[in-house]
């Protein structure tokens, strides 16, 4: 008796809570169930539209899951679930409430397929629904979507959202999105002119894109206003483009610096033409890969630290290989540059093939830690985090190396041996060991460069090949034997390259840079900053 009463009470309570949205939920479930029967992208798209038109924020879950390819139909009963892959099976949950609904084998469910057009439809639909979300980032994303896909029907929801918006920056974005929608509506001309002014103030590529399409469609005053606004934006963008080229140049320069800085030691200071330098970089990159593999399987929580852990290991691995190469091959060949060149070339082939035999010939995946992914904007300049960190890292390595060379006893010995080997030997410096350790240092630096380059390039046995020519170019251009020369050389080559690229294209740009360097070397054979030492005497 008691039990019945409790159940009865519960039912009443449920009815009371559901009365506001309950009918809606049943409707939504009805619409979601249609996914099971929808064939082809256009039918799925129709269901998405229907769901979005319901205007209930609850549809966010199934729609977001659909966009991510996580919406499934169970073959047995044609019920629709949100699924999360867990190994061989998929964990199912209710599309509206998110309640767990057990597991299913992959063969027992079918994924509802989406393509780009559908993803766009879903994104637009979600945009309208998430305008009043709690998280400002979601609201920003919604405003952004609505700006890119203006629709006269959006004005109403945007007005309500603007009225209740408290964060100023989000409000500005919402107003821009509203202005975009006004432009495609049949509002009076005065409204449209105000909208163009608002969008013109935004001043980015998306604004140009929108205004260009408005310009093509409208007439008279609106068209004229759009044309002037585009011209204004383009002139400011031209200024930012120059800034962007400089940033790209600096970023390319930092990559060149990283690749070349180890060579500045082995070739620059010691005068060894080390063709295996690129392979030291490659070994560093593979060390990163191995470290990440271990972290992935054993300590997934440490993934963001993987690069920090890989740095000392990469240095050690490459330095040890360098030491062995020096002791095993190069020390017998000092003063015979041609033979050194051939021998180190051979070593580079052996190292490449060894890596190929151990890890296989295909690319290995080295992931970006979260702090190296994505980008941020400075004005109209998009700066990607990985490039910024590589620049910081390259400068740090340079600073440390400069300190070692100039301020430590070991650096002093190194420089002494470079300047005058016999005098240094008579002073009691063990020159063979200084040679070996210098070579190991140069190789180790190349190894840590590999850690950084694994973030932007392929990790394959051929990784080093791509950098060896550029590295020699930087060192020769900057002045053999001078670290500052390498720094200036790397950045100036990077910037010149990136200024040429938009006009001449990547292929021609590279050729022009090469020709310029050849001409420069004709004029100043010792590079930008010449230094006296063994390299010069040889």
């Amino acid at each position: 008796m008691n039990l019945f009463r409790t159940i009865g009470l519960m039912l009443l309570f449920l009815l009371a809570t559901l009365s506001s949205s309950g009918a809606g939920e049943a409707d939504l479930r009805g619409i979601i169930a249609k996914f099971a029967a929808a064939k082809g992208f256009s039918e799925i798209g129709a269901v998405v539209h229907e769901l979005a038109a319901a205007g209930d924020p609850a549809v966010e879950r199934p729609l977001a899951a659909l966009a991510d390819g996580n919406l499934y139909v169970r073959k047995a009963d044609s019920l629709v679930f949100v699924g999360k892959e867990a190994g061989e099976s998929v964990q199912l949950s209710d599309p509206l409430s998110g309640e767990a609904s057990g597991e299913a084998a992959k063969d027992d469910i079918t994924k509802i397929k989406v393509n780009n057009t559908l993803r766009r439809v879903i994104r637009d639909a979600l945009g309208t629904l998430t305008l009043c979300a709690k998280d400002p980032a979601v609201r920003i994303a919604a405003a952004d979507t609505m700006f890119k896909t203006p629709d006269a029907a959006n004005i109403g929801p945007l007005d309500t959202a603007i009225a209740s918006e408290t964060v100023a920056s989000v409000k500005a974005l919402l107003e821009q999105a509203r202005a975009a929608s006004v432009l495609v509506s049949d509002r009076p001309e005065a409204d449209k002119l105000a909208a163009i002014a608002l969008i013109g103030a935004r001043g980015d590529r998306d604004a140009v894109s929108l205004l260009t399409s408005v310009e093509a469609k409208s007439t008279d005053a609106v068209k004229q206003a759009a044309t002037t606004a585009i011209a204004n934006i383009n002139s400011t963008l031209a200024f930012w483009d120059a800034g962007q080229n400089i940033w790209y140049g600096i970023s390319l320069g930092s990559v060149l610096l990283l690749a070349a800085i180890g060579l500045a030691i082995t070739f620059g200071v010691m005068g060894v033409i080390n063709m295996a330098h690129g392979e030291m970089v490659m070994l560093g990159a593979y060390t990163t890969f191995v470290v990440q593999q271990v972290i992935r399987t054993s300590f997934p929580g440490l993934f963001d630290w993987s690069l920090v852990i890989a740095l000392p290991l990469a240095f050690l691995v490459s330095a040890l290989v360098g030491l062995i190469i020096e002791r095993g091959v190069i020390r017998f060949l000092y003063g015979r540059p041609l033979e050194t060149l051939l021998a180190t070339w051979g070593v580079s082939l052996i190292l490449q093939q060894a890596v190929r035999s151990i890890f296989g010939p295909t690319n290995q995946e080295v992931g970006n830690p979260s702090w190296m992914s994505g980008s941020f904007n400075v004005g109209q300049l998009a700066i990607t985090w990985n490039r910024l960190w590589i620049l910081v890292f390259a400068l740090a390595v340079f600073g440390i190396l400069l300190y070692v060379m100039k301020r430590t006893p070991w650096g002093l010995q190194m420089r002494a041996v470079t300047a005058n080997r016999r005098m240094a030997a008579s002073m009691g410096i063990r020159t063979p060991w200084v040679d070996a350790l210098t070579f190991a240092l140069g190789s180790g630096i190349a190894g840590i460069a590999g850690v950084a380059l694994s973030q932007i390039d392929n990790v394959s046995p051929n990784l080093g090949r791509g950098y060896i020519i550029d590295s020699f170019m930087v060192v020769v251009f900057g002045g053999v034997g001078n670290l500052w020369g390498t720094l200036v050389g790397a950045f100036s080559l990077g910037i010149v390259n990136k200024f040429l690229e938009p006009y001449a294209g990547a292929v021609l740009g590279k050729i022009v840079v090469l020709v310029l360097i050849i001409l420069f070397i004709q004029k100043r054979p010792r590079g930008l900053f010449a230094l006296k030492g063994r390299a010069v005497e040889a």
């Binding site: 780009n116 766009r120 994104r123 590529r205 894109s209 010939p361 295909t362 995946e365 998009a382 990547a506």
Partner: protein, 436 residues
């Protein structure tokens, strides 16, 4: 360190053993085996792609032997390494044919390596099976092209992008690596797009060097080009190594597939294996085969491959399927001709039809190209492709593009009495020249 040394010694001893095998091979090679040459780079730049094909061939030959061989004889693979060195391809091809007396050769990847071996194959009259999508404008008597011609990949891909499903693209970026395949393909595509009414200012063509790794300027140029108020797409013929940095830069600069999709012709499962594909979901590729294709033939092929290579993570890809088709066609043609004599097998090849891995049959046409379905796939977060479009029927490979002025009148038919790879229907003469 010891690890490194031991691998080096292992390598040395392995190469010594390999050399020993090569020396001893001719001695025991009597008439009891049929030799099949495998001409794929196992070292150098192209090893990344070609090593897999060598392994796939070894697997196919193993399987054929398990089935009892061919004409009552065992098949024997002869593997050589042309080391990504184009002239060496010709030398090694000559060695395979003259010294090892192989019955057919499966090999090459880049167009330049194929061009370098062509004279050898016609001089010594042997057969080459070429498994990679290429730029067309060629049809040789001694070569069977099992990869896609431009009309089996590039043109349907562009058609898809122009369709409503593909996003009704109006503005095009043709981005490629600077060598013959991208240049010819882009020439064909440009002519095709213009024929479809795309204005010249809505097409941007850009080339980058091999192994290019700093894509910042190019990607921001694409972004800029895409902000003209029209739906924009990138058609990428960027090759091999340069793809990973290209896609990483796209992801970092926030170019999403919904806004500017990238349709690639040289990016397969193998290339994606070195990438975190989560930011790339929705970017496209056009191939004749995807590992994700759900057919019993494909499932068996993948299971066999994993067993053969002893690694469950290794992917399969389109050129592997091409070798699968080509090898089975060759086996069938040899059985039909009753001999491995290249002359007779070449004639027997035409019209041979074998199952492909996508649930249909591929047939060798008189122009030495095959029929294939064309699939458009979207990259998924797990590094696989999801097929979003598929041609309703099989597409026949068209060697001479209809969209290039030089080659539109040329046809190829290697059956008697025409027996010509470049017959000009306008002048009625054999010996036309295409573009490139």
């Amino acid at each position: 360190m010891r690890g490194n040394f031991s691998t080096i010694t292992k390598m040395f001893s392995a190469s010594v053993v390999a050399a020993g095998l090569l020396i001893s091979a001719p001695a025991k090679a009597a008439d009891d085996t049929i030799k099949v040459g495998i001409l794929h780079s196992l070292s150098g730049t192209m090893a990344i792609s070609e090593t897999t094909l060598k392994d796939a061939m070894l697997m196919l030959i193993d399987e054929q032997n398990a089935k009892g061989g061919l004409l009552g004889k065992k098949l024997e693979a002869v593997v050589v390494d042309p080391a990504s060195n184009w002239p060496l391809f010709a030398e090694k091809a000559r060695e395979l044919i003259s010294k090892d007396k192989v019955a057919a050769v499966f090999g090459c990847w880049t167009s330049v390596s194929r061009k370098s071996v062509l004279p050898v194959f016609s001089e010594l009259d042997n057969i080459l099976f070429y498994p990679v999508q290429y730029e067309g404008e060629e049809s040789e008597r001694n070569v069977f092209y099992t990869g896609a011609a431009p009309n089996q990949q590039a043109i349907p891909a562009v058609d898809y992008l122009m369709s409503e499903d593909g996003g009704s693209v109006k503005r095009w970026v043709l981005e490629g690596t600077d060598y013959v395949y991208p240049r010819t393909t882009n020439k064909i595509l440009e002519a095709y797009l213009k024929a479809k009414g795309v204005a010249a200012e809505d097409i941007m063509v850009n080339y980058t060097p091999f192994g290019f790794s700093d894509w910042q300027t190019e990607v921001s140029a694409i972004k800029k080009f895409g902000s003209a108020g029209k739906k924009t797409a990138v058609v990428s013929t960027v090759n091999g190594d340069a793809n990973v940095p290209f896609y990483k830069e796209l992801g970092n600069q926030g170019i999403k597939a919904e806004d500017i999709p990238v349709m690639a012709f040289s990016v397969g499962e193998e290339e994606l294996a070195g990438l975190d594909t989560a930011p790339l979901v929705g970017h496209l590729a056009a191939w004749n085969y995807f590992e994700s294709i759900d057919t019993p033939e494909n499932k068996k092929f993948i299971a066999d491959w994993h067993k053969f290579i002893k690694n469950d993570k290794r992917t399969t890809n389109d050129p592997m399927e091409a070798h699968y088709i080509g090898f089975n066609m060759w086996v069938k043609a040899v059985e039909k001709a009753g001999t491995t004599d290249p002359d007779k097998v070449i004639d027997a090849m035409i019209g041979v039809s074998v199952p492909n891995l996508t649930g249909g049959y591929s047939t060798m046409m008189p122009n030495h190209h095959i029929t294939k379905p064309v699939l458009i796939g979207e990259i998924q977060a797990d590094g696989q492709f999801e097929t979003v479009s598929r041609t309703p029927g099989l597409v026949m490979g068209d060697e001479w593009s209809d969209y290039l002025p030089d080659s539109k009148d040329l046809i190829s038919d290697w059956r008697a009495p025409l027996s010509c790879g470049n017959f000009n229907v306008a002048t009625g003469k054999c010996g036309g020249k295409g573009t490139n």
